[in-house]
């Protein structure tokens, strides 16, 4: 089977690249070994949150001054990276995913424990908090679903009170939740979210209780377990609750993240893309410094041929790169990696310190082509977390690098063919 571009990896980066190309009429396929890290997404996308431990307020003006020359943003060109970032809200808007925030100024997101972290864009479910040490409400009512263990109300209340917001904590129940609790260990966010799908009556019944419990609070704080397949449940709830709702992401799986994954996949497929889930690339066939085709577990030999290929396989977690006892490798192509050769240099002993291995990843040449033995593979591009020389945790830059490099690579591929 022949495509214009085949993308390996079906997460945020692979889907962004696939959609960007498919929007320009390219015939693309995505091969994805299982579901992606969007299932653990906070509901916000970071671009650049921290430099040397300090919060970044205005990424658009700060980026050029603070980013090292070999950082993916710098290698795109900081102006170009910012220009791409400015198009992202509209890119998501086209698939019906509303995001708030701007590259000109970071806002704060609330973590599952009630801490504030700087971020770039947040899904419309979530509040855009302007200040780190102040919530827009003096008193909130934190409410959980009875028996749901992945939303830690006491931590949230504690952290909120530290920044001057009074909290009351309560829980609500319905016979539907009671039934879910038959299996307490698997009373997960997504199983709760499924109860709300297509059951507006249940949402309104919950809203009635939430309204009663809220008392004189100015806002209601709820776990983000609404709207799995689309955001209908969120809208019904917002309309039925008399106060502003502050959703807090819960421990994984992430309902808003899964909704984003499903929406992006649907968008890609509606644009004519082929999404091969649960399949893995087993071999790549190269000739004269070019990739000709890929074999996969399900499709067999030489099954997928294309003009261009994109490696968007993620970092260690997704096996985009792998740590072996004596080396770090890119397992599909044996592409060159940037990684310390001596194992002792992989870690620092302070677990919260700046871990060198976080910067490991695939090495690329100027136009984001992978190299093997120092030689560029002219039609194999690299995007997202598999790239090297950035630290998604310390910089709070993971989603930004994923999205912006994917769009940059899509631009390179489009221009090359023109």
């Amino acid at each position: 089977m022949r495509f214009d571009t085949i993308i390996i990896g079906g997460g945020l980066s692979g889907l962004t690249c696939g959609i960007a190309l498919a929007e320009r009429g390219k015939r693309c396929a995505i091969v994805s070994t299982g579901q992606s890290a969007l299932h653990f997404c906070s509901g916000s996308f970071d671009f650049l949150g921290y430099v040397n431990g300090f919060d970044v307020e205005t990424p658009a003006t700060t980026l050029a001054k603070v980013i090292p020359a070999d950082h993916p943003y710098a290698r795109i060109g900081t102006d170009r990276a910012i220009a791409i970032a400015r198009t992202v809200p509209e890119f998501f808007g086209r698939m019906g995913v509303k995001v708030n925030g701007s590259i000109e100024r970071n806002h704060y997101r609330i973590t599952p424990l009630g801490i504030m972290k700087p971020t770039w864009l947040s899904l419309d479910d979530f509040n855009v908090i302007a200040e780190k040490s102040k919530l827009p409400w003096k008193k909130v009512s934190i409410q959980n679903i009875a028996g749901f263990l992945d939303f830690h109300t006491a931590f949230v209340a504690d952290n909120f009170e530290c920044i001057g917001t009074l909290c009351t904590v309560s829980a609500f129940n319905t016979p539907e939740f009671e039934r879910l609790r038959t299996n307490p260990s698997e009373m997960r966010s997504t199983n709760i979210a499924r109860l709300f799908e297509g059951n507006d009556d249940l949402i309104r019944r919950c809203a009635d209780v939430i309204n009663r419990n809220a008392g004189d609070a100015e806002a209601v704080v709820l776990p983000a377990v609404f709207g799995l397949l689309d955001s209908h449940a969120v809208e019904v709830l917002k309309a039925a609750v008399r106060l502003p709702i502050c959703f807090i992401p819960v421990l994984p799986p992430s309902v808003p993240g899964i909704r984003t994954q499903l929406t992006m996949r649907r968008r890609f497929e509606e644009l004519g893309g082929t999404y091969l889930l649960g399949d893995s690339v087993t071999a790549a066939h190269l000739e004269d410094g070019k990739v000709l085709s890929l074999s996969t577990t399900n499709l067999g030999n030489d099954a997928l041929a294309a003009d261009n290929f994109v490696l968007a396989t993620g970092s260690f977690f997704s096996h985009g790169i792998e740590a072996h006892p004596d080396k770090v490798v890119e397992p599909l192509f044996g592409a060159d990696v940037n990684a310390a050769t001596d194992r002792d240099d992989w870690y620092c002993h302070d677990v919260f310190g700046e871990q060198p291995y976080m910067n490991f990843g695939v090495a690329t040449d100027g136009d984001f082509s992978a190299t093997i033995g120092g030689k560029a593979i002219s039609n194999l591009y690299v995007a997202g977390a598999v790239l090297s020389k950035f630290n998604p945790i310390k910089e709070a830059s993971g989603a930004g690098v994923s999205i912006v490099t994917a769009m940059h690579v899509a631009d390179i591929i489009t221009k090359k063919n023109e």
Binding site: M1, T33, G34, Q35, S36, H39, F40, R179, L180, R181, T182, N183, S185, E186, M187, R188, T190, N191, R194, E197, G198, P252, P253, I258, R266, E269, T274, L276, L277, G278, D279, S280, V281, T282, T296, T297, N298, L299, G300, F317, S318, H319, E322, H324, P331, L332
Partner: protein
């Protein structure tokens, strides 16, 4: 490619990170809290069972064996296999009469086809359904697929066999129980399409039911016995250079993957010889080895439903692309989800509500779209969708046979 050299298990259970993505996509966990879900029933439970078999939990029987957990798993853990293997290894529940009856498709089919009018009429009668429901615990909502009065094999020997030698290329056909006993027309459609493409179709030396229902109903020895017979026939066919083609996604999946993974029968030498009809046909045309022409007056809106085992094999793309070859077809690809029947699972009275709850979003979507036909590679999905919606279901091979310009296709393939 993950380096699994350090694994001690065959099903990668050490690779499980407890990320819970499998449970997100489990159709049963979503509607039946009594089922612990794939993470708990699979890798988590396996750790305990390895320590002490007494940790085995009979609620694992609620697993549909749809394998959607495996498709979702980012780390290639064969969760469905872990659960089914645990059932085989540890379950002490003996299969009853109902399980014997539902699982022995060959025996039931042979008896029923010889008395088809009587059997079909009586299985539809209210008192019979009531007895099946109350005594056998086979849900009264279910309609048994009608039995044909002539088996496919009989038709083939009488009307098709003599012609097959004249073609330049040859394949073997694993017709499966459904085509043989219930719906021979699909087998006839397959022969027609293959003949037009220049391929003669042959039956296997001996064919037994693939055994999927035997495995899910706990009749493992019999499943192994039938698997050996089938693989023996596949080997004979492969030795003659003939692929073995099945039309049913589940039969093909069972012979390729469940034989080694659940029954412990090595099929590595012939696994690639076992292929699915739409995959074989699409690949022939995509690679230019055969040509196909369609009738200009064939115009339909079709909705393709990806059966669970198609999703697991990753082969829906072949059926979808094959249907897209037909110029007059408007194709809607339905979101891939379980329809809820899972073979004999949905026939059992205790599973009926779960089965319908699982499929409900699919049925709603089909009613919304109102296609001329739903198309799927799986016969039990067909029964479920036809029972639960107002739309008829066809196999992609039947669609190809209907849309085919037989004479032009035959001529095109004679020239090449």
């Amino acid at each position: 490619m993950t380096d699994h050299t350090m694994n001690i298990s065959e099903n990668n259970f050490e690779q499980c990170l407890k990320c819970t993505v499998c449970t997100v996509y489990c159709p049963v966990a979503a509607v039946k809290p009594e089922y612990p879900g794939p993470k708990q029933a699979g890798p988590d439970g396996e750790r305990l069972r390895l320590k002490k078999p007494a940790f085995f939990d009979e609620s694992l029987k609620y697993c549909l064996n749809c394998k959607r957990c495996e498709v979702a798993c980012p780390h290639d853990v064969r969760i469905g296999d872990i659960i089914q293997s645990a059932r085989i290894k540890y379950s002490t529940k003996k299969p009853g009469l109902r399980e014997m009856m539902l699982a022995n498709t060959d025996f039931m089919g042979t008896v029923a086809t010889t008395m088809a009018p009587v059997v079909n009429a009586s299985l539809g009668l209210k008192p019979v359904k009531a007895i099946l429901d109350s005594v056998m615990k086979i849900d009264a909502h279910r309609t048994f697929p009608k039995y044909a009065s002539q088996k496919f094999e009989t038709w083939y020997h009488r009307h098709a066999e003599a012609d097959q030698a004249k073609y330049a290329h040859h394949v073997s056909f694993f017709h499966g129980c459904y085509i043989n006993y219930n719906y021979p027309q699909l087998g006839k459609d397959f022969v027609r399409v293959m003949n037009a493409l220049g391929y003669g179709v042959h039956l296997l030396d001996r064919e037994k039911c693939c055994g999927v229902a035997l495995i899910s109903n706990g009749l493992i020895d019999q499943a192994r016995h039938q698997a050996e017979i089938n693989l023996d026939s596949v080997r004979k066919s492969a030795a003659k250079g003939m692929s073995v083609i099945g039309a049913s996604s589940t039969c093909v999946f069972t012979m390729r993957d469940e034989y080694p993974h659940l029954l412990g029968i090595d099929n590595a030498d012939v696994r690639n010889s076992i292929n699915l009809a739409t995959r074989f046909i699409f690949s022939l045309i995509d690679s230019g080895k055969a040509k196909i022409a369609f009738r200009p007056d064939y115009k339909l809106h079709l909705a393709y439903h990806t059966a669970c085992h198609m999703e697991k094999m990753g082969w829906a793309i072949y059926s979808i692309e094959a249907l897209r070859m037909i110029p007059g077809v408007k194709l809607t690809v339905l979101p891939s989800q379980c329809c809820g029947i899972a073979g004999t699972y949905g026939f059992k009275k205790e599973n009926y509500p779960t089965s319908q709850a699982i499929g409900s979003t699919l049925f709603r979507k089909i009613e919304e779209i109102k296609p001329d036909y739903v198309v799927t590679d799986c016969e039990t999905c067909k029964w479920q969708i036809e029972m639960s919606t107002s739309v008829s279901v066809k196999h992609p091979i039947s669609i190809l046979a209907d849309a085919l310009d037989f004479d032009r296709t035959t001529a095109l393939n004679l020239k090449t």
